[in-house]
């Protein structure tokens, strides 16, 4: 593991952390256009973060240390995730530290801390949010795992870099199974990142909110970290999607020239996916919480179908 690798790793990590709010801003902008509202500027998320960082912190009387630690832990988890997913290049030192399953575990860690923190103060909303979040996650995880199964079968590995390798190297080959997996993945992504139709990120309407309900007790820098982590999570998910389903352009090991190209490719892909996400959110409507199991069950079915098709057609 040479110095250049470490450098690459650092660059990618910082890049991801820096760009995450931008991606969020881009999605919001697209959505505003699609709903022909006048869009906020791309940098709006940064302004919000800055404002929150400057504000004082207000804590409830019975708030415990857990509430205060949670934001840091959650943020750290997301940073780590961003370091692991091959965004621009595959030979990242940290990518050895976790395959997709470990990645899921990492998200789970963040989620559990968030949910616990939400229960800390003991308001009705906090617990409501945490239990809904945990429920959605519980239902999303099997689907996510099935999504990972198909590429893992094709790439004979659960490590993202190797999967990327198998797809990028060698002749271009069409995998119908991957199409199913991709659709399923998008559905899971919507559920996991609190997007419409599962949750509405831009509402504080009590009875519908999930993710926001957990953040009600946060203020100041804690809230900032939480939001930032949330943005990071969305971006990491997108990056996973890219790595699995359209990995072309990610720099191979040891070709330093590929890195800038990879950067450009990444930006393009992220913009495309963001736009697509915004489109989906515009078309779909928020669903009742007890419709979510059906939604995720659908995702699960698609993923299983993908796997079976792989066995029947491609294997």
């Amino acid at each position: 593991m040479s110095f250049s690798h470490v450098l690459l790793q650092l660059i990618q990590g910082l890049l991801a952390v820096a760009l995450a709010p931008l991606v969020l801003g881009w999605v919001n902008q697209c959505r505003a256009w699609l709903q022909n509202r006048s869009a906020p500027s791309l940098l709006q998320p940064y302004r919000v973060l800055l404002k929150l960082l400057r504000k004082e912190i207000v804590l409830a009387h019975n708030a415990s240390w857990l509430l205060r630690c949670a934001p840091y832990v959650v943020f750290a988890c997301m940073v780590l995730a961003a370091c692991i997913v091959p965004l621009v290049a595959t030979d990242l030192p940290f990518s050895l530290a976790a395959d997709v399953i470990a990645l899921v575990g990492l998200f789970a860690l963040a989620r559990v801390f968030m949910a616990l923190a939400a229960m800390d103060v003991g308001t009705a909303f906090g617990t409501l949010g945490s239990r809904r979040e945990m429920l959605i996650a519980a239902l999303a995880e099997p689907a996510l795992l099935m999504v990972f199964f198909t590429p893992a079968l094709i790439g004979h590995s659960t490590a993202l870099p190797n999967i990327v390798e198998t797809f990028t190297t060698g002749p271009l080959q069409l995998y119908p199974s991957m199409a199913f997996a991709a659709v399923a993945f998008i559905m899971v992504l919507l559920a996991e990142n609190a997007r419409i139709p599962v949750d509405n990120p831009s509402t504080h309407l009590e009875l519908t909110m999930v993710h926001e309900a957990m953040l009600l007790e946060y203020s100041g820098r804690h809230l900032a970290l939480m939001d930032w982590a949330h943005a990071l999570k969305l971006m990491v998910y997108m990056a996973i999607g890219i790595a699995l389903f359209l990995p072309w352009g990610i720099a191979r090991p040891h070709d330093w020239l590929g890195v800038p190209l990879a950067l450009i490719a990444m930006v393009v892909k992220l913009m495309a996916i963001g736009a697509g996400l915004a489109l989906l959110e515009t078309l779909a409507a928020k669903m009742r919480i007890f419709k979510v199991p059906e939604f995720l069950g659908m995702a699960f079915m698609l993923a299983v179908l993908g796997m079976l098709i792989h066995f029947l057609v491609e294997a």
């Binding site: 976790a98 399953i101 575990g105």
Partner: protein, 654 residues
């Protein structure tokens, strides 16, 4: 060498008559530590056997320590050390029951578990096995004036005894008549596949009754809440594992050949058990019941691993079998650690609050910071979160699942992945359960006034829980070193070694079979997370210096917020109740809109109890009523019986 520890238990047992319970418990704690060391040492070196003077004629007690048993001895040692230290404090502050008796039974319990692990012939094994059941039964009914506790104990012992008879019959199949009761003889016994299957099924039933496989689990949620917390900790943490040990011993060691469908059966039962336990744990409102169901779930996960290993081994894919086995054993140890830890935590909470119902607890993180912090580690570990130990075993298990498509059986190739999804669901649900457990007990506002003067646990308790928590962390951070230590077991059981895959990359990285396949490094996780937290924290303090203010929690302007408004355990489980209604037997009664004092109540019951056990009991009732008619009271009728018997036999013989 392990006689030191065993002797200590054995010696501690009879001398109990004194009232120096504290001394004895700490003695046995030392014994536990010794056992830990012994177990660790025993992992490396090869089997060593010896013969005791006792036993049946021609069948003295054979004793043998091989890597497998020493692994479980290690497990027992770690857990029992903690529990003993804890009990030293717990029972002194009145755990209920006669302390001396409890002390005696407790040590008999420990000693018999050791004997189970080292037994090398069927008779000694059965003796130790049943003494274990008996001792634990007496411990369960320590507080026998309560009717439910007696009922729980009764159910427990009946199930245990039926299981024991099944195991006995399994040994009956394995032995070849003429006193060949030693395990060595059984190993070399030529056994037809059919008989092997019979033996395996009997063993599965017998050990399943003790471990709590579906549908033999019903005693578990009854007995665990009934017992004093340290006892439930031992039962759930260690005793269930002895059943796993027995199953492994029989299916991998004594039975020479495996057939693939055994593994599939075990796999199916395991997944069903795990799922069942997870769902029921999610809807419990009593913290010990919740933990009991979560034990069922974990045992299911372990059995799943055993099943996978069996399938792989049956197809002679020994390396993969080794991976599955590694996951299984690792999860055994993990569960022993964090489940014991959590049960001890509940013990501390019950001592402090005299409450067991989740509906009456809450907000204890302020009152009992130590217990809360240690319990949090246990919670994260059992929820299977990196970088703690629970995640390692789950990761390994998922890896071996992902490797299953290599099997030369296309049905399995397609079905086992779906099983993987079920496992994922279980894992996620266990996360749900644990958030509920910790959140409701320790977070939020205290739901009862009495909780305000709850006191934190004493020194002994803290030490005990700290020891377990430390193991959770260590096993989470350096799994590779530990897996290397386990390697002899794999060589012994499935004739494959994980050495090359473990040595392939540095000690920081776990790999299932090869680094290309997948790798995971908890150390990196921890380091990066800590680094980010520290840097982030410092940076924020450095550039944005803001002051912090305490204020009442935001109540949406409602103004009259109180503790009763926060979600109860019941409410927290409600979505699960809604979604998995088909699996539960719940009678709910909603208040009518005109009810002046509306009350909502719902009760969850185990459908298996209703659908399986009650009918059986009714059947026995009916049969015995039938038989009762025979005892007619009229002497003439009795004479007719013997008359007819005579004639019948005459007819038979002519």
């Amino acid at each position: 060498m392990f006689w030191l520890a065993l002797g200590l238990f054995g010696l501690a047992a009879p001398v109990e008559r004194g009232r120096h319970a504290r001394l004895f418990f700490s003695l046995s704690a030392i014994g536990g530590v010794v056992l830990t060391v012994v177990g660790l040492a025993g992992l490396g070196n090869w089997p060593q056997a010896m013969v005791l003077g006792l036993g049946l004629p021609d069948l003295p007690f054979h004793v043998r320590v091989d890597p497998l048993s020493s692994f479980f001895i290690l497990l027992l040692g770690v857990a029992s050390a903690a529990v003993s230290v804890f009990s030293a404090g717990y029972f002194e502050r009145g755990g209920g029951g006669d302390i001396r008796l409890v002390c005696l039974q407790y040590h008999v319990f420990l000693a018999s578990m050791v004997m189970v692990l080292v037994a090398d012939d069927a008779y000694l094994f059965m003796v130790a096995w049943e003494s274990m059941a008996l001792a634990s039964y007496f411990l369960v009914i320590t507080d026998h004036r309560v009717a439910e506790i007696r009922r729980a104990g009764f159910i427990y012992l009946v199930v245990a005894h039926l299981g024991a008879i099944a195991i006995l019959l399994a040994f009956g199949v394995l032995q070849l008549g003429q006193w060949t009761y030693t395990f060595d003889a059984m190993r070399n016994a030529p056994l037809s596949t059919g008989w092997g299957a019979v033996a395996f099924l009997l063993a599965l039933i017998g050990f399943g009754a003790k471990a709590g496989f579906l549908p033999l689990h019903i005693w578990l949620p009854e007995a665990h809440p009934a017992a004093p917390s340290p006892v439930s900790a031992l039962m759930s943490g260690v005793m269930l594992k002895t059943a796993v040990y027995g199953l492994l011993r029989v299916s991998f060691d004594l039975l020479q050949v495996q057939v693939w469908w055994w593994g599939v059966l075990a796999l199916a039962v395991g997944l069903a058990t795990a799922f069942y336990g997870a769902v029921f744990a999610a809807v419990q409102t009593d913290m010990k019941r919740l933990l009991a169901y979560s034990s069922i779930e974990n045992i299911g996960v372990i059995l799943t691993g055993v099943g996978l290993a069996l399938v792989f081994h049956a197809y002679a894919m020994n390396l993969l079998a080794a991976v599955a086995l590694a996951a299984t054993l690792y999860h055994c140890l993990n569960h022993a650690l964090f489940k014991t830890l959590l049960f001890l935590a509940t013990g501390a909470v019950m001592h402090a609050t005299r409450q067991r119902s989740l509906g009456k607890l809450g907000g204890l993180i302020g009152r009992m910071p130590w217990v809360a912090a240690l319990a949090l580690i246990g919670t994260l570990a059992i929820a299977g979160l990196p970088p703690l130990n629970g995640f390692v075993s789950e990761w390994l298990l998922f890896q071996s699942f992902l490797l299953s498509p290599g099997l030369p059986n296309s049905y399995l190739n397609m079905f086992i992945p779906i099983g993987t999804a079920l496992l994922a669901l279980v894992v996620a649900l266990s996360g749900y359960v644990m958030v509920k457990f910790f959140g409701v007990v320790f977070l939020g506002l205290p739901r009862e006034e009495s909780l305000r003067e709850a006191h934190d646990a004493g020194m002994a308790e803290r030490v005990a829980m700290g020891w377990l928590a430390a193991w959770c962390v260590v096993l989470g951070l350096v799994p590779v070193l530990f897996l290397r230590a386990l390697d002899p077991i794999f060589q012994l059981m499935v004739g494959a070694t994980l050495r090359d895959s473990l040595d392939a990359s540095s000690w920081m990285f776990v790999t299932a079979v090869s680094p290309e396949q997948a790798s995971y490094s908890p150390i990196v996780f921890l380091l990066v997370i800590v680094a980010v937290i520290v840097l982030g924290g410092l940076g924020l303090r450095r550039w944005f210096s803001v002051q912090r203010r305490r204020a009442p929690a935001w109540d949406c302007g409602f103004g009259k917020r109180n503790a009763r408004m926060q979600d109860t355990a019941e409410g927290y489980g409600q979505p699960i109740k809604q979604i998995f209604q088909v699996f539960l037997r719940l009678d709910r009664h909603h208040p009518s809109p005109f009810d002046p004092r509306p009350r909502y109540h719902s009760r969850i019951e185990d459908p298996i109890w209703e659908r399986l056990y009650v009918p059986v009991a009714r059947l026995v009732d009916r049969l015995s009523a039938l038989v009762g008619v025979v005892q007619h009271g009229r002497i003439a009728v009795y004479l007719v019986y013997s008359f007819l018997t005579l004639l019948l036999l005459l007819a038979l013989i002519l």
